[in-house]
């Protein structure tokens, strides 16, 4: 009962000084909003990446020449597919295309069949030469849909026209958003790739426990290749996203520190009126522990309110406005993406981490000022 009454008084006290407290909540919520935006964005991208990798092949084999990724001979494919434990080995044809018109990078894939894990929004996959299917982001960037044409410039700067046979699923799919899928022959022709070469080889493995063994065998068979396992990719993504988000958090933690200094300053510089009020409370029977509890509740209310406001603002910023401030850093400095919508992925752990990261320093910075207020001498009230 006592705790509830003190909490009630804390709320009334905060409300009576609403302008001062609102300014603290505003700055605090802004700081939380920035940190939350970072966490939401990276978590959403990470989840999206993990999801898309679900359908990825267990192994990808790349050829390395002078330390760089090179086109791989198709005969490697046949040899690899004979390794015991390998389900199948297929050459893969894909590459990047820089569209100077929209300043975006697209990923081009040449297929002779369908690719698992992709679903069309409308239309169909390319079935004849000159046709392509595009990701929603590409269509949006080029203002083109099913039935329209899209012109790309090959290495000789000659325009090549493709008819859009279909558009992929919604904008929220990282995998397909910047994709252009065309027939294998069209692809080879467009990029003028030498015959008998592909970009890399995808290998499916029957028993997941054997992936590392088979990667080792491939490496032994063809020392000039680099087999990459799916789990390595997942771990790399995880690490990169964690690293990027951690870096951003570190940078923006300076904002948090600045806020805590502000909080300390506000808490220490309490107005004469507030000091008088505490003196009155002490004079009429409140003890130092009661005042400390009052200050504690005030701190908690401010923290939780700011946390809620900051989280909501971050949610809107990231999932409705597409995080315009943060996106370039988090997604990558070198790769340009067309805009796409993020799928809201939030989990309680993220919110817990954020609450911890923001509430702990705030509470710590107000302990000493709260104590200084709480030890106000009740005698002073008699003297004034």
């Amino acid at each position: 009962m006592r705790h509830l009454k003190i909490l009630e008084y804390a709320l009334s006290s905060l409300f009576r000084r609403k302008y001062r407290n609102l300014s603290i909540v505003a700055v605090y919520a802004l700081t939380i909003g920035i940190l939350a935006s970072i966490l939401f964005l990276t978590h959403s991208l990470k989840t999206e990446a993990t999801y898309l990798l679900h359908d990825a092949p267990e192994l990808i084999v790349q050829k390395i020449s002078a330390g760089r990724h090179d086109l791989i001979p198709s005969e490697y494919t046949e040899k690899i597919s004979t390794i015991p434990g390998v389900g199948s080995a297929e050459p893969r044809y894909w590459g990047y295309y820089y569209d100077s018109l929209t300043h975006s990078n697209y990923t081009l894939i040449g297929i002779d069949d369908t690719i698992p894990g992709l679903s069309l929004l409308e239309g169909k996959m390319p079935s004849v030469s000159g046709e392509c299917a595009v990701g929603a982001g590409v269509g949006h960037a080029r203002i083109a849909g099913t039935g329209d044409t899209i012109t790309l410039f090959n290495s000789k700067d000659t325009p090549v026209v493709f008819h859009i046979a279909g558009v992929f699923r919604s904008e929220s799919n990282i995998l397909t958003n910047d994709l252009i899928v065309m027939g294998e022959k069209d692809f080879l022709h467009f990029f003028e790739l030498p015959a008998g070469r592909s970009t890399d080889i995808t290998v499916s493995v029957n028993n997941p426990n054997e992936i590392a063994t088979i990667a080792g065998k491939i490496k032994k068979l063809y020392p000039d290749t680099r087999p990459i396992t799916k789990s390595e990719i997942i771990r790399t993504y995880d690490a990169v996203f964690n690293w990027r988000s951690g870096m951003m958090l570190t940078i923006f933690s300076s904002a948090l520190i600045a806020f805590c200094i502000l909080a300390w300053d506000k808490a220490t510089g309490i107005s004469a009126e507030e000091k008088h009020e505490i003196g009155i409370l002490k004079a009429i029977g409140w003890d130092t522990a009661d005042i400390l509890e009052l200050k504690f509740w005030e701190g908690i209310v401010i923290s939780l309110t700011s946390l809620l406001v900051g989280l909501i603002a971050a949610f809107i910023h990231v999932f409705f406005l597409n995080a315009p401030i943060l996106t370039p850093v988090i997604k990558g400095w070198s790769v340009l993406f067309p805009d796409f919508r993020l799928t809201p992925y939030i989990d309680i752990y993220q919110i817990f981490v954020l609450a911890f990261l923001t509430v702990t320093p705030y509470v710590a910075s107000t302990i000493i000022p709260s104590w200084k207020t709480a030890i106000t001498d009740p005698e002073n009230v008699m003297r004034n």
Binding site: L39, T42, S231, I234, R235, D238, A239, N242, W243, S245, G246, M247, L249, T250, S253, T288, A289, L292, Y349, Q350, F352, V353, L354, F356, L357, T360, P361, V363, A364, I367, I368, S370, W371, A374, I375
Partner: protein
């Protein structure tokens, strides 16, 4: 190292450690200058400082409890980075120093909670009889928190994703060596018997304490409480977890915090830790009854501690036994 959860843990731990150092320093100054019979300004300031130190310790304890949960969750979250790790156990095995960080957090929970109880008792006496022992003990708690920070940082800095680690399946497996393996390979029936036997004698001893004021009973209850703690942890690993996971080989003590097991880990561990803590108090504070100004306060508080301990331990035993008794899973021939 730049994982958000890790950042939060390290930043929070550093802040708390600094706060504890400040509190210990103030505590030592209080011991040096304390003169209860003086009415000087200086004595008044020292008395007021005791409130500051109490506030700091309460916040530090609150932080340590929450950070223990955050630690387990973070360690679980990063398991994907290690080959072979499927849960928190795997992450901890990737750098065994992590286990020490966890043990230290448990130690800090108990010592800081004990300190807060001691402080509450001291504040109820009119003559602050425990000032010196209290603030000396504070230095010890600060050291523990410092070690916790050190081991946490060593753990996170020493993590190497290249290292292939083993998961709970192999750590807590019947065939592995070490304590964890031994615990997992304990036959279930004897372990169950030990668990229920210990809980019955503990509750019986606690109930007797409510009726009698004998000192030896209180020491017995405290000892049994500590013993029950270790027996319960062993039981969780040995058989309780099996019934919760409904798998005869899944002994991990951390996965029960996860959502797909309906977060059962929280009520289980919270009731165990709090029940054991309150059970420890009567014996720990029995010697303090010699102090005249504390005797009545301790005797009144003792009843509350015993009742709380009995209720919490009963609750713990019931929710741990629920899947054993009412679950669809049965262990036959184990």
């Amino acid at each position: 190292m730049l994982h958000p959860g890790i950042l939060a843990l390290v930043v929070g731990s550093c802040i708390v450690f600094v706060m504890m150092l400040a509190a210990s320093w103030q505590g030592l100054r209080i011991i040096a200058g304390w003169d209860f019979d003086s009415s000087s300004e200086k004595q008044l300031i020292l008395e007021r400082k005791t409130y500051l130190i109490s506030s700091i310790i309460k916040y530090a304890l609150g932080f340590e409890i929450i950070s223990s949960l955050l630690f387990i969750y973070t360690v679980d979250d990063i398991h994907a980075m290690f080959v072979g790790a499927m849960c928190a156990t795997g992450s901890l095995n990737a750098n065994p120093v992590g286990w020490y960080a966890l043990y230290l957090k448990i130690a800090v929970f108990f010592t800081a909670s004990l300190w807060i109880m001691l402080n509450n008792l001291d504040q109820k006496a009119e003559d602050f009889p425990l000032i010196r022992p209290k603030y000396t003990a504070l230095v010890f708690i600060s050291v523990l928190i410092g070690l916790d920070l050190f081991f946490q940082m060593s753990y996170f800095l020493g993590l190497n994703p290249e290292v292939i680690t083993s998961c709970c399946g192999s750590l807590f497996s019947d065939t592995s060596s070490g304590i964890a393996g031994d615990l997992s390979s304990l036959s279930i029936k004897p372990m169950m018997a030990l668990f229920y036997f210990t809980s019955v004698i503990f509750i019986a001893a606690a109930l007797s304490c409510l009726k009698s004021s004998a000192a030896f009973l209180r020491y017995t209850v405290s000892t049994l409480s500590i013993a029950f703690f270790f027996v319960s942890i062993a039981s969780i690993i040995s058989f309780i977890s099996l019934y919760i996971y409904e798998m005869p080989t899944h002994h991990c003590p951390f996965d029960i915090f996860q959502g797909h097991y309906r977060f059962i880990g929280y009520p289980v561990y919270i009731s165990l830790f709090c029940g054991v803590f309150f059970g420890m108090l009567p014996g720990f504070f029995q010697p303090l009854k010699r102090i005249v100004s504390l005797r009545d306060t301790i005797m009144r508080a003792e009843k509350r501690w015993l009742v709380l301990s009995i209720l919490l331990i009963l609750f713990f035993v019931i929710i741990s036994s629920w899947p054993v008794v009412f679950g669809d899973f049965t262990m036959q021939g184990y």
